[in-house]
């Protein structure tokens, strides 16, 4: 395996590309009792229309997430969640618009648990009966999610920004769309997307990388499969489909998200660099020490419930900024002012240097959380870069690049505002 040391940040990464096409990343973490492994497929809720060379196949919304739930059923009648838990591991899974990820954390028997993880994710087993039962459970999950203001404000924003891209729709689908899911659909999607060439295994802990590789070689199918292509519909324009939406829910104070579409860099170091530039730009515009945030906070227009991020998924990149505010439209106006100022005057060197330092410290913190470490490693595998290179690259990003990002992608025409207001009694 290839060993890459990052002495500046005390990290030691082992990587390999196995003959079956699987990419392996193992971060050595001496002294930790906890080990973590994430087995991820480059397959998410937005990949509903796909091809492996033949014709295009269309599937109902919610298949990726449904599949994630059903993978835990094993042919012998057991449930992988229970088997892993009984063995002292803490297993779970999630499905986003662009990725399905199965993971566990354990403080004992890591290699047994890893073998179990790889085995159950690579062994599909679905029956008409079990699919029907899951429709009930996921139906509950969908109504729970629909009750959540945080979900509503986000999905409404996506519907404002995107005209046709499937990222507009909930990853879990709807009651109606999941009713159309059959065992046959699940088998075929598993075959297409869960082949090792389309997957990454990322692990962290006080573990032996060679042993991780040996288990992957032994358990997973030996033949590489074709990497599927997804069709996300016609290219999206630069501007949002609509500028504003407002919905009422059972809620204490309005929640809002400001969003903008960014054309994602194709991949490799250019993609990592674009992510770093975007994060620094947003930190400078609306981070905790920014003029925008501190002024609106003091005026009572923003609270501690405020955050910003850039979501990359399924060929999209979306700037998402927001939280709680009594006056979301004023927050949007103030944000636009901050953008206009930065675009006109550029960024101050001192502010920029401070943002770089703060970002460095925040990234160090992220290395301690194995879950976030492994998912950023997996993002890197599918994006063609190594996420640990971020620390060195951060020192080379320039204020001019950040100013250009702000000017090019965050102008007033490009912003949309999603608001959830308290339902009136």
């Amino acid at each position: 395996m290839e060993n890459k040391r990052f002495d500046n940040i005390g990290e030691n990464l082992y990587t390999a590309k196995l003959p079956d096409g699987l990419t392996l990343n193992v971060a050595a973490k001496p002294g930790y009792a906890t080990s973590f492994a994430a087995f991820a497929a480059n397959y998410g809720g937005a990949m509903r229309r796909f091809s492996t060379g033949g014709g295009w196949v269309d599937t109902p919304a919610g298949v990726a997430h449904f599949l994630e739930h059903k993978m835990f059923d094993m042919p012998d009648g057991d449930n992988a969640l229970n088997v892993l838990s009984a063995n002292g591991a803490d297993p779970n899974a999630y499905t986003s618009a662009g990725m399905t990820c199965y993971y566990f954390e354990s403080t004992r028997d890591f290699y047994d648990n890893l073998e179990m993880l790889l085995r159950f994710v690579s062994t599909p087993y679905f029956t008409a009966e079990s699919v029907k039962k899951e429709q009930g459970i996921i139906g509950q999950e969908i109504s729970m999610t629909e009750d959540s203001p945080g979900f509503a404000v986000y999905i409404n924003l996506m519907k404002l920004l995107y005209a046709a891209h499937p990222i507009r729709d909930a990853v879990a689908g709807t009651q109606q769309s999941i009713a159309r899911i059959t065992p046959e659909i699940l088998y075929s999607c598993h075959k297409v997307f869960y082949n090792p060439s389309n997957m990454a295994l990322c692990a962290a802990g006080d573990i032996d990388p060679e042993k991780v590789r040996d288990i992957a070689l032994r358990v997973l199918p030996a033949e590489p499969g074709p990497v599927p292509k997804a069709d996300f519909g016609p290219p999206e324009g630069e501007l949002p489909l609509e500028k504003r939406s407002e919905t009422a829910m059972e809620l204490s104070a309005p929640q809002f998200l400001i969003g903008a579409k960014v054309p994602p860099a194709p991949g490799g170091d250019a993609l990592l660099r674009q992510k770093l530039i975007g994060q620094l730009a947003l930190r400078l515009l609306c981070g905790t020490s920014s003029d925008f945030y501190t002024r609106l906070y003091a005026q009572g227009l923003l609270t501690r419930d405020f955050d910003y991020e850039i979501d990359y998924a399924a060929g999209t990149a979306t700037v998402v900024i927001g939280g709680e505010s009594a006056r979301p439209d004023q927050a949007l106006a103030a944000f636009s002012d901050a953008v206009a100022r930065a675009a006109r005057d550029g960024l101050k060197k001192a502010d920029f240097d401070r943002a770089v330092r703060a970002s460095y410290g925040a990234r160090l913190r992220g290395l301690e959380d194995f879950d976030s470490l492994c998912s950023s490693l997996a993002d890197g595998v599918f994006g063609g870069y190594c996420s640990l290179d971020a620390f060195a690259m951060l020192q080379r990003v320039t204020p001019e690049e950040c100013a250009a990002y702000i000017r090019d992608y965050l102008g007033p025409d490009r912003l949309a505002l999603s608001v959830i207001t308290p339902r009136k009694e």
């Binding site: 803490d90 039962k133 509950q140 609270t303 330092r357 703060a358 460095y360 410290g361 160090l364």
Partner: protein, 432 residues
């Protein structure tokens, strides 16, 4: 991980864990005080007001800029309750010196910043700025109102409020909205001085520095900490039995689609001499995780809910079972949750179930040692209880818990309150 605990000033303790494992170090300070309705909101508001600005860094922009300079050091207000002790203060974390590009040292600077925030607020005429107090007061009131946004957390808190309506534990960690609204900047300043002088104080550090170096940095930074007569007479009242013969029932209706059912229990006579290991093993077997009876039966076998789990509050002696259900399944879900407890009381706990419960618990406890935030919370609770049992020691004790011990806990538990947050089904599926 080497642990040193010492009293570094009168009524001021430091728990220091030395380890090279982490990329960042954490340092927290907590003022301990009795939880009560009259003062809870004032206590909770203090760290938020202090975080707005100091004499040297007078506003939030200046404080945040200083923290950015310290490689993104974080200092956040933290308000918790451990049983009926309210703990208010700051939690800070900052990069370990060894990983900084220019060989700088952040520990002393972080201790200084913590002291500055706690001891030298931005004041006018010796009083908190009315502006800061008014704005943080409004935000705290909104924070209390906002608990409805998290349906599950809201239902849990409402169950506790109803169950413990005659006890201080009904008071949430932030107090209540009514008391928040009466807070004024002058009285709050006075209250702050009393709190600072009289509260026992707990510092916690976890990182690469030796305990002596941390103690020295803190003593130097907190030289001007006022120390009056320390209020050591604080604690938690534990009620052993249910308030009425049969569980009280509360149903509340809101515009949500999925109902939240919470059952509140007293841990009962086993709180006479609480033994943490059997208590935790019982909880893990009953509803602690995916191998528990609640998960296996209420969720998996009967598909009555999306989630069903149980949690312990060992300081106050409570057990809470929380689940998300359809309103139509209310009776069936409640009966099944109680039936699973009855099964445990009858001794229906297989070796497989018991082993799985112990494994899950031991794993959780070992994992505590890998996360600073968890360690901080664990050792703060231990300090409040006067306990000295490390997570790994507790994990070892859990291995030896017998089926009889876990069953004995199940027999001791009494249901006291059934709370149901009922959806009226009006929450529409937007955009569909």
């Amino acid at each position: 991980m080497e642990k040193v605990r010492s009293e570094i000033m009168p009524g001021v303790w430091l728990t220091a864990l030395r380890t090279d494992k982490f990329k960042t170090a954490c340092l927290s300070v907590n003022l301990l005080t009795q939880l009560c309705r009259e003062n809870a909101s004032q206590n909770a508001l203090i760290p938020f007001v202090l975080r707005r600005g100091t004499a040297k860094h007078p506003d939030m922009a200046a404080v945040s800029a200083r923290l950015d300079e310290l490689y993104g050091a974080a200092v956040e207000p933290i308000v918790r309750r451990v049983g009926e002790i309210q703990c208010v203060g700051f939690y800070s974390s900052f990069a370990e010196d060894a990983l900084l590009p220019r060989g700088e040292s952040v520990l002393s600077a972080a201790a200084e910043m913590l002291a500055e925030l706690l001891l030298r607020p931005n004041t006018r005429g010796g009083l908190f700025l009315p502006d800061y107090v008014a704005s943080e007061r409004d935000k705290l009131a909104e924070l209390i109102r906002s608990r409805i946004n998290d349906r599950q957390g809201y239902a849990l808190q409402r169950c506790i409020e109803e169950m413990c309506c005659y006890e201080n534990y009904a008071v949430g960690r932030y107090g209540d909205e009514k008391n928040v609204e009466t807070i004024r900047y002058d009285r709050l300043t006075k209250h702050y001085h009393t709190l600072l002088a009289q509260s026992p104080i707990e510092f916690f550090y976890c990182g690469a520095a030796e305990a002596d170096r941390v103690a020295l940095a803190l003593i130097k930074a907190f030289l001007t900490l006022p120390r009056g007569e320390i209020d050591c007479d604080i604690g938690t009242d534990v009620r052993m039995n249910a308030v009425e013969d049969s569980p009280r029932v509360t149903v509340e209706e809101k515009s949500i689609s999925q109902g939240k059912l919470v059952l509140g229990f007293r841990l009962g006579e086993c709180m006479d001499d609480p033994d943490p290991a059997p208590l935790r093993v019982f909880n893990a077997a009953y509803g602690g995780g995916v191998t528990s009876k609640l998960f296996a039966n209420v969720r998996e076998k009967l598909s009555l809910c999306y989630y069903a789990n149980s949690m312990l509050e060992t300081h106050k002696g409570l057990l809470l079972v929380s689940s998300g259900i359809d309103a139509a399944d209310y009776d069936a879900a409640r009966d099944e949750i109680l039936a699973q407890l009855d099964a445990l009381r009858r001794g229906e706990l297989s070796d497989t179930e018991l082993t799985a419960a112990k494994n899950a618990l031991a794993s959780d406890l070992r994992a505590v040692e890998d996360a600073q935030g968890e360690l901080e919370g664990y050792w703060l609770a231990a300090a409040v209880d006067g306990d000295d049992l490390a997570p790994l020691e507790l994990a070892a004790l859990a291995e030896d818990v017998t089926k009889e011990q876990a069953v004995a806990v199940a027999r001791s538990v009494v249901c006291d309150e059934i709370y149901f947050l009922k959806g009226d089904g009006t929450e529409d599926e937007d955009g569909e």
